[in-house]
Amino acid sequence: MIWTPYQPTPDEPWNQARVIHLFRRAAFGPNRSESQRALADGPARTIDRLLNPPADVAAFHREQDACETLPLPEWRGWWLRRMILTPHPLLEKMTLFWHGYFGVGMNRVNHAGLLLAHVRTLRAHALGRFDALLGAMTRDPAVFLAAGGANNPKARPNEDFARQLLARYTVGEGEFTERDVADTARAFTGYHVRGGKWREVPSDHDDGPKTIFGQTGPWTPSDFARLAARQLATARRVVRALYRHFISEEHEPADDWIEPLARRFATNCDIGRLVTTMLRSRIFFQSPAQRIKSPVELAVGICRTLEITVPTVPLGFELAELGQNLGQPPTLKGWPGGRAWINHATILARTRLAMRLVGNKKFPAELFGVSDPASPEFQLA
């Protein structure tokens, strides 16, 4: 009942404002042709197109993957370029979301190549199955390094690492016991990161029975991923995070809003369906201007709506100065977002960046829903 889909009515018509709202949240903002087609197609078809664009997305990503280079500033530039040019912006937004969710960054990883591979893995699963995503994370050397899991010897199971996995990535604080921590650590013994590669050392693995989330068995990291993905607590955390990302950063949703989505997500682990439900809902369309654009959304949004490409390597540095350093979230908690993006230093810098990107071009107020890039409204999403 809470998540009933939005249907256009005379009181809540499908108009330009709602088109802009949808594209700002589900993509980075509409350009002219997208806006016109969306008005004609209506909300359901537009959301379908955003989830499954008709273009050859695979070919686009193959081409981008071939161009991608290191070191970090160039990689950041390639990712921003990919976001600006992609036919599937919702996928890039979700990749960015997961990047913040797992909070894996160069501060702790140190090998830019591992970070590149990590983000590609995120992209592959971003709108897919959450259990597959979590499973991939339990085999990702970047995640191990970031969360302190480089070494997991049998003699001394790495409980710090296990604690991070439970508190940061799955069920969350207060939802696990010390037994869970100890046995999760044992499940990961024998899996190390050596020379930048994830390695399995069977002799160092404790293959005895472990009890995690009340279930006993000879668990390995992939079992942990499977179990954790199906925990209701994990599902609630993911749903809340997605609520914050897509719907509102100001309003804390009530438990009975989250519960139905969480139950379904815990069963089917389908990220795409979860996102679709949220985007289709009336709640979604009733919540414009409830988020602050992240620096990436601000810049990429302008580029996509104005249909320009800019040198993205310097842009990467500027966005880092605004607080969003792609590839280097401040901690494992990712970017806090919301009001934290706006302080007395960043507000003026963001305004200057927006004005510089718009430059002398005519500002299409009808595509931004705002008359002036220097206005405070422009900072909201």
Binding site: E74, T309, V310, P311
Partner: protein
């Protein structure tokens, strides 16, 4: 004021270069036709305008072969739809009608009008307060009078319909009549067969004053200007006013970055010269056959202060000719006294950057604590040569995805027996450290080995391709096989073994004598450079797309333009030398005509 000055210089330099490039292009265009190859060097008739140019002029450009430029400007091959010029042609209907009318009145076509107008030469001078004057000497006074009447009449007719901007004013000053056809945007005066055009009335009056007073207060009376003109060959002379000179001496504002020691090593001698010079900078140009030469001369003596390390102290001394190796792309020969350079480091770069400290720490380790200034920098003599050459790749080893040319530095050791051993030890320590550092980052290391070539043993380090999956797209590190060789009294540090061996062969030839007074000689082969760009096409395009945000088509077009330009410029050489209280730089291009482009120089078999 100061920024204006530098803008002026840039404009005039651009104009001068444009003129000369045009001359070059014109010449090549002519080469396609069955005419005899004319050499365009000294003007046939040299008309001097010096006595009309006020001495406050900041910069003066004499265009002595304006007729040739006009010929070029109206050559159909160059004025067609897609040409360089077509973007500047006004396309309004009104303009076409006006042109037709003018041609009818003058009795000849439009290109001829221009040719006759500028027949005996034109000079452009820039003055303070953003003022410009141009003085041209036409074919005859009658033609000029007729042209002027036609223009004034047309302007009056046009102004009759509108008001304000197009008012025509006629007046006289010191016996000369002058007009403005655009209510003060520009003024011109006709004096028998000369026309003077100025953008400010004061500037026009200053010229007329000089003329009326038979050259008093003009540049004809300035000995320093005349001297500078003579040194350059008289095509263009630029004056550096004292304010501009002071600007160069000051660091650039508050955000001055710390001086880069390498930049100081290369350019300190020239920066000092610019600070100390007498005030005139002379530009000259020459076109002989396919060879285009641009000359810059500064009137000043070699600096004796901290920057003295970069000049030969006595006559007969100087940099050596560059080393010749196969597939050579560029070569630089320097005369730099490293011992004096490093001894003066407090004066030259007082900032202790972390890079400098790191360098000293490393050199301390490699050279086992020997004094850097006396025992290391002082162990080589001032003749330093750098060479960059294309490399060929052994299919058994593999080809890297990005192909980097080989490069090497050649020093001459003062005490070969002793320093050969010291430098060998330092080199081995350095690459051992590189290996350890790479190992810490889990990257592949190099194997150090020695090998023989032409009776000489040398040491090198190389990467092994054994574990690489794709031998046709290897990592960039496979471009490098660093090596060190001692060829008699020469110390060779090279990035590949192939270049080392080529240098061993080249250095065994008899030693060349120094080039008197030369402290830098840079030579580049445009064709070979174009080849490097060509074989690295894909990485360059991708980098362009990323760094400039362009799409693929624009990136490809930019690369193709650059390759075409580099090929056109052909062989280039830059020689900087000092003699008789003058420092001169000479930039020569051996331009390649269109036919020459058909041959491509292959760098790989």
């Amino acid at each position: 004021m100061i920024r204006t000055g530098s803008r002026l210089i840039v404009i005039l330099l651009a104009l001068a270069t444009l003129e000369l490039c045009l001359l070059g292009v014109l010449h090549l265009a002519k080469a396609r036709r069955p005419h005899a190859q004319a050499t365009v060097s000294a003007p046939a008739r040299s008309v001097s305008f010096d006595d009309w140019i006020p001495e406050q002029a900041l910069a003066v450009l004499e265009v002595s072969r304006a007729d040739k430029i006009m010929e070029l400007a109206f050559d159909p091959a160059f004025t067609g739809e897609q040409s360089f010029w077509s973007q500047w042609k006004p396309s309004a209907l009104g303009w076409t009608l006006f042109r037709r009318q003018l041609e009818k009145e003058m009795g000849c076509d439009y290109p001829t009008i221009w040719r006759r107008l500028l027949q005996d030469g034109v000079v452009i001078a820039a003055g303070p307060g953003q003022s410009f004057v141009a003085i041209a000497q036409a074919s005859d006074a009658e033609f000029l009078q007729k042209l002027n009447n036609a223009l004034v009449a047309a302007a009056r007719k046009g102004a009759a319909g509108k008001s304000g901007n197009h008012r025509v004013i006629e007046a006289t000053y010191r016996g000369a009549a002058y007009w403005t056809l655009s209510a003060g945007a520009a003024y011109h005066a006709i004096l028998s067969n000369r026309v003077v055009l100025a953008n400010k009335l004061d500037a026009l009056k200053a010229v007329l004053d000089c003329r009326a007073e038979a050259g008093t207060g003009s540049l004809a009376k300035r000995a320093d200007y005349q001297a500078a003109k003579r040194t350059a060959g008289g095509v263009a002379t630029l004056r550096l006013s004292p304010e501009l000179r002071q600007l160069q001496a000051k660091p650039k504002g508050d955000t001055a970055t710390e001086p880069n020691p390498l930049a100081v090593l290369l350019f300190a001698g020239y920066a000092e010269a610019l600070k100390a010079n007498s005030g005139w900078l002379a530009l000259g140009a020459d076109l002989q056959g396919h060879s285009l030469t641009l000359r810059v001369a500064i009137d000043c003596a070699q600096p004796k202060n901290a920057a003295a390390f970069s000049w030969p102290p006595t006559a007969g001394e100087g940099a050596w000719p560059n080393v010749e190796v196969p597939r050579r792309i560029a070569a630089l020969s320097l005369y730099r006294n490293l011992h004096d350079f490093y001894a003066a480091k407090d004066a030259l770069f007082p900032e202790r950057t972390s890079q400098l400290i790191f360098f000293e720490n490393m050199m301390g380790i490699f050279f086992s604590g020997r004094d850097l200034t006396d025992e290391v920098m002082g162990a080589v003599d001032p003749h330093i040569r750098v060479v960059v050459a294309g490399q060929t790749y052994d299919p058994a080893v593999g080809t890297p995805a990005v192909k980097v040319p080989a490069f090497a530095v050649v020093f001459r050791m003062k005490n070969p027996k002793q320093f050969a051993r010291i430098s060998e030890e330092a080199w081995q320590k350095a690459f051992g450290l590189v290996n350890v550092t790479r190992g810490q980052k889990a990257e592949a290391g190099m194997i150090l080995d020695r090998k023989d070539y032409a009776g000489l043993r040398y040491t090198f380090a190389s990467f092994s391709p054994d574990e690489e999956p794709d031998r046709s797209k290897l990592d960039i590190r496979f471009n490098y096989s660093p090596s060190i060789a001692h060829v008699g009294e020469y110390l060779v540090l090279s990035s590949t073994t192939q270049l080392t061996e080529d240098l061993i062969a080249a250095l065994r030839k008899p030693a060349p004598g120094p080039l008197d007074g030369v402290n830098a000689l840079l030579e580049m082969d445009g064709e070979r450079l174009a080849e490097i760009l060509r074989i690295n096409r894909e990485p360059i395009i991708r980098s362009n797309m990323l760094q400039k945000g362009q799409n693929r088509a624009a990136a490809e077009a930019e690369l193709d333009r650059n390759i075409a330009l580099v090929r056109f410029l052909g062989r280039a050489s830059l020689r900087v030398s000092a003699s008789d209280g003058r420092i001169a730089g000479e930039l020569t291009f051996q331009l390649r005509g269109p036919a020459a482009h058909k041959q491509t120089v292959a760098l790989a078999p």
